[in-house]
């Protein structure tokens, strides 16, 4: 194969008659950037994604990054999706290959008929290219060297240059890029010019050489609406600010670190007393996760709303303390941004594999409340809700997000807050009530809902003091080794867990138009891929009822849903079907009726995967054969 010196793309000739046609699509394709981390590609790639969004076309970008600071491969994948499918699609239509280390695998990933943009400064032998794709060679290094004097600038602006080439060939409006650069470097005008220069250089090169090279186009649309574009971790942090958290104790761990950092950032913006400059919050970077959960429990015991943000290994370390908070009944919010486990696992990849570890965290008989947000909008809502639930239920509450939601920008509904909303501080017996002579038994089930009253330290000179401990006690918090005292509390804790069913976010249920062949249950970050999969299946006339679980313990509607279907697919991003185990275990469901669909290689689940898996299993069960080829 021949790449002409002028950089013009190959033309299709007789010798390539068998070549597939060039992929042709408007506002519906996948561009992937293969970079070396630490090379400054992130801001250029994000600029690309945002420019498409500004043209009214939904995008769904994903960072696929290494556990490393400099020198290792990193990818940024942008799904352009007029229809608003925000899950990962799989496959790549246009690859921007900037990393020689991953050249071979990057090339392999391009769909037949797809496109490759690469730095052609150093000649690449044809044997290293593919016959069935269109190549856009750009001598980026050469141009950058000629244009920019500073070596660091050359490296950074090379990235902006390829955005210019892409804009030319895809039809991104240069005015949009100029506007975004202006916003990004607001107040740092001297940075705008070199960036804009680099972009225009790329744009001119692209217009000159690749005007019609690709059949991929961005066309202005109006499908973004009032949606916001935000990372889940930032949304979670904001939810903690709005939900009234005052103490955040944390230990750095990917992919949760940006929760605490965003909390600090939002607090600096919203929680500094204007008159005195003093902070209405405290953030402590603890020495480890044992200390961070200990601080959260200490603060919760003393009446402040407190949370920690962590990931799998952190939860493992916290389990003893979580058992204490469960048994001594202390509010605590634990944000678990899940990553690939076990052990260090895949720290920069996504999974939903901590359900069991969190649901039953700690030794002895324990059960914990888990919330499963689907996107940043729900991260915000559920973070605030978790702070209410923890105080209402006097127990640890887990917010189970994951890397896919937490560390990627996602289009979602705008945040909402009702100013008349009051925090639910739960059952706290205050000074006046104690003064009136009310009987205070710290673990007394006064209301029959399993939730006792508590007092805060310092409330009353002579009444309401009690001793909090992780050992057995009676209803008045007195140490006891009597079996009936122990059983009383353990049964009451079950009653309390039962109360939680009605308080947690209820499932979202969708019914098939006709008679459903089966049901499907899913949760969390699987949501966008599932919505797309359901649409694909409907297009093939496969009707599924669907239920999105949003919390554990499961409300009754979950059991009802399963009861109505002979077969229910349970779609998850872990190996061991952990939600299914919880459903079987907690609802007494016949395991044979719950068919696991499991995706756990660390990449976000795709609609294609779900459709394939469902099709395969339906065929195996002889329910209905799908048309071949539809589930690509």
């Amino acid at each position: 194969m021949n790449v002409p010196k002028d950089g013009r793309p190959r033309t299709e000739g007789a010798a390539h008659a068998a070549r597939p046609a060039r992929i042709s699509a408007v506002n519906d394709f996948v561009v992937k950037f293969a970079n070396v981390n630490g090379s400054g590609s992130a801001s250029a790639n994000e600029l690309f994604a945002r420019s498409i969004l500004r043209m009214g076309v939904p995008v769904s970008p994903r960072n696929i990054f290494p556990s490393n600071i400099q020198g290792l491969p990193t990818w940024y994948e942008v799904r352009v999706t007029e229809q608003g499918h925000l899950g990962r699609r799989g496959g790549v239509d246009l690859m921007v290959a900037m990393n020689p280390q991953t050249w071979d695998r990057d090339l392999k990933e391009i769909e037949p008929g797809g496109y490759l943009l690469y730095d052609s400064t150093r000649p690449t032998p044809p044997s290293r290219l593919r016959d069935d794709i269109t190549v856009l060679p750009v001598p980026l290094t050469e141009i950058a060297a000629a244009k920019f004097a500073d070596p660091k600038e050359r490296q950074l602006l090379k990235n902006i240059m390829y955005v210019g080439v892409l804009a030319a060939t895809l039809g991104i409006e240069p005015e949009v890029i100029a506007q975004l650069l202006g916003e990004q470097y607001k107040g740092k005008d001297r940075l705008v010019k070199p960036n804009l220069d680099a972009f225009m250089t790329g744009l001119h090169y692209g217009r000159e050489h690749f005007e019609d090279a690709t059949h991929l186009r961005i066309a202005r649309s109006d499908k973004v609406g009032d949606r916001i574009f935000v990372e889940g971790n930032a949304a979670t942090a904001l939810g903690c600010v709005y939900g009234g958290a005052t103490v955040c104790a944390w230990y750095p761990i990917t992919p949760s670190t940006s929760v605490a950092e965003a909390f600090q950032k939002y607090c600096a913006k919203y929680r500094v007393d204007a008159a005195t400059g003093r902070n209405r919050y405290a953030v402590v970077q603890a020495e480890d996760e044992l200390a961070s959960i200990g601080m959260v429990i200490g603060a919760g015991w003393n009446g402040a709303r407190a949370f920690t943000a962590t990931s799998g290994p952190g939860v493992s370390l916290m389990t003893e303390f979580i058992g204490l908070a469960y048994f001594a009944e202390v509010p605590a919010v634990i944000i678990n941004v899940q990553r690939g486990g076990p052990s260090t696992g895949m720290p920069t990849r996504t999974q939903q594999s901590d359900l069991l570890a969190c649901a039953y965290a700690s030794h002895g008989d324990t059960k914990h409340v888990l919330l499963f947000p689907e996107d940043p909008h729900e991260c915000f809502e559920f973070a605030a809700a978790a702070l209410d639930l923890a105080e209402r239920l006097q127990t640890p509450v887990f917010l189970m997000t994951d890397l896919d939601i937490g560390m990627n920008h996602r289009l979602c509904r705008p945040f909402k807050w009702d100013d008349s909303r009051r925090y639910d501080r739960g059952k706290v017996m205050d000074t006046a009530t104690l003064e009136s002579g009310a009987d205070f038994g710290r673990y007394l089930d006064v209301d029959g809902d399993g939730i006792p009253y508590r007092t805060l330290p310092g409330s009353h000179a002579t009444r309401g003091a009690y001793f909090t401990r992780g050992s057995t006690k009676d209803a008045y918090a007195r140490y006891s080794e009597v079996g009936t005292d122990y059983v009383y509390n353990m049964e009451r804790l079950l009653r309390k867990f039962d109360t939680a069913r009605a308080l947690v976010p209820q499932p979202i249920i969708g019914r098939a138009q006709g008679k459903a062949a089966a049901g499907v249950i899913y949760y969390g970050s699987t949501s966008p891929a599932m919505a797309e999969a359901l649409a694909l299946l409907r297009a093939q006339d496969v009707q599924l009822d669907h239920l999105r679980v949003r919390a554990f313990p499961f409300p009754e509607s979950v059991a009802d849903f399963i009861a109505r279907h002979e077969t229910v697919f349970v779609v998850e991003q872990n190996r061991d079907a952990q939600l299914r185990t919880l459903l079987v275990n907690e609802l007494g469901i016949d395991p044979a009726r719950l068919v696991p669909v499991l995706h756990y290689d660390g990449t976000p689940i795709t609609a294609r995967f779900i459709v394939n898996a469902v099709a395969e299993r339906m065929q195996a069960r002889n329910v209905r054969a799908l048309k071949p080829g539809m589930a690509a």
Binding site: A249, Y281, L290, G298, N302, L324
Partner: protein
């Protein structure tokens, strides 16, 4: 631990403090520790100190870890909230509690196993953060509840009850704390109430982290010949550098270092520490010299006691974090929630 509350009846002529409370009002449940346990003497000293300081009992939060010493908060200040947390992790619970409400007085009680073995990490970070609290390490060199294993403070060469000799080097809580930036540190002996009570009062009045390492013999497992934490050994080898007289805040008296036999130090709250020197040239304002002094004497088998270092101008974690004076647990929606208008502006920025 016990169910048993002490009878509330007491002699009508018991002396009362400025709040009108008798010492009995600072007591807790009946101790379940062994007769003669050093820890019970420390509990008595805590009761005495709090009574003398006229602290409102409910303004104190008592926290502990796990072990014999950590059981004791149930045996004093029965009108205070207590928190018996997990083994070695009281410091983090203490830190969180303190962040939530800076207005209470925080008292942590722990042992040498809880603090120096399983909890050494959390102990260190509590000190270096300068959490405003008093930490009493009831140090007996053994694990009592599990019947006599060595702890990390046991001296090299010290013999166990069963005759085993400890070969590991000891951790000295005081030197360690000094290295970590403690701002009030003392060592004392549970058998010397006259020394201990003023040291507790000074610690409770100190702003910042205060540590009392109190040698507190275990009568059941570490009170025999050959042990360096027995009553007899500590009495024979106790080398006090000074005697503290604690004087509460009084107007009009300016503190100053006086030459000669007495050093007077004014703390942040106005209370004064008057130190009568017992060792020539020992300066409780010199942390490095204190470490050297402790180690020189330890090498000779001597236990240095007294107020070993104090920085009266210390600040605390809340100052480092620049938090508002109102306790965080008292802030309400109007203080904490930015509201819907701010959220709409944020939504616009994120579009």
């Amino acid at each position: 631990m016990t169910y048993l509350a002490k009878p509330r009846l007491h002699h009508p002529d018991l002396p009362t403090n400025t709040l009108g409370y008798t010492r009995r009002d600072y007591e807790g449940k009946i101790s379940t520790l062994c007769a003669g346990c050093g820890h019970d003497s420390i509990s008595a000293a805590i009761i005495q100190a709090c009574w003398e300081l006229s602290i409102e009992p409910h303004r104190v939060a008592k926290l502990s870890g796990i072990g014999c010493s950590s059981k004791t908060p149930d045996y004093f200040l029965g009108n205070s909230h207590g928190f018996n947390s997990v083994h070695g992790r009281m410091p983090s619970v203490m830190t969180g509690a303190n962040l939530a409400n800076r207005d209470l007085i925080y008292l942590g009680v722990s042992g040498d196993g809880d603090s120096a073995s399983i909890g050494l990490g959390q102990f260190a970070h509590l000190i270096r953060r300068g959490v405003n609290m008093t930490y009493i390490c009831e140090n007996n060199g053994v694990y009592g509840l599990t019947k006599g294993q060595f702890s990390a403070t046991a001296d090299r060469g010290s013999k166990s009850k069963r005759g085993a000799v400890n070969r590991d080097a000891p951790i000295d809580m005081v030197s360690l704390a000094l290295q970590l930036g403690i701002t009030y540190v003392a060592r004392s002996f549970s058998g010397d109430k006259d020394q201990l009570v003023p040291l507790i009062k000074g610690a409770l009045s100190h702003r910042g982290a205060a540590l009392l390492d109190v040698i507190s013999p275990c009568v059941a497992f570490n009170n025999h010949a050959g042990s360096t934490k027995s009553y007899d050994y500590v009495r024979e080898h106790n080398d006090a550098v000074n005697r503290l007289d604690f004087m509460p805040r009084r107007e009009g008296i300016v503190a100053s270092y006086e030459p000669g036999e007495v050093i007077e130090i004014t703390q942040h709250d106005g209370s004064r520490l008057r130190l009568r020197k017992l060792t020539d040239g020992f300066d409780p304002g010199d942390a490095l010299a204190a470490i050297t002094h402790i180690h020189q004497h330890h090498a000779r088998g001597e236990i240095v006691t007294g107020l070993l270092y104090v920085d009266p101008s210390a600040d605390d974690l809340h100052e480092h974090l620049n938090t508002v004076p109102t306790p965080l647990n008292r802030l309400t929606e109007s203080d904490l929630c930015p509201g819907s208008a701010a959220l709409e502006r944020l939504n616009a920025d994120l579009a």
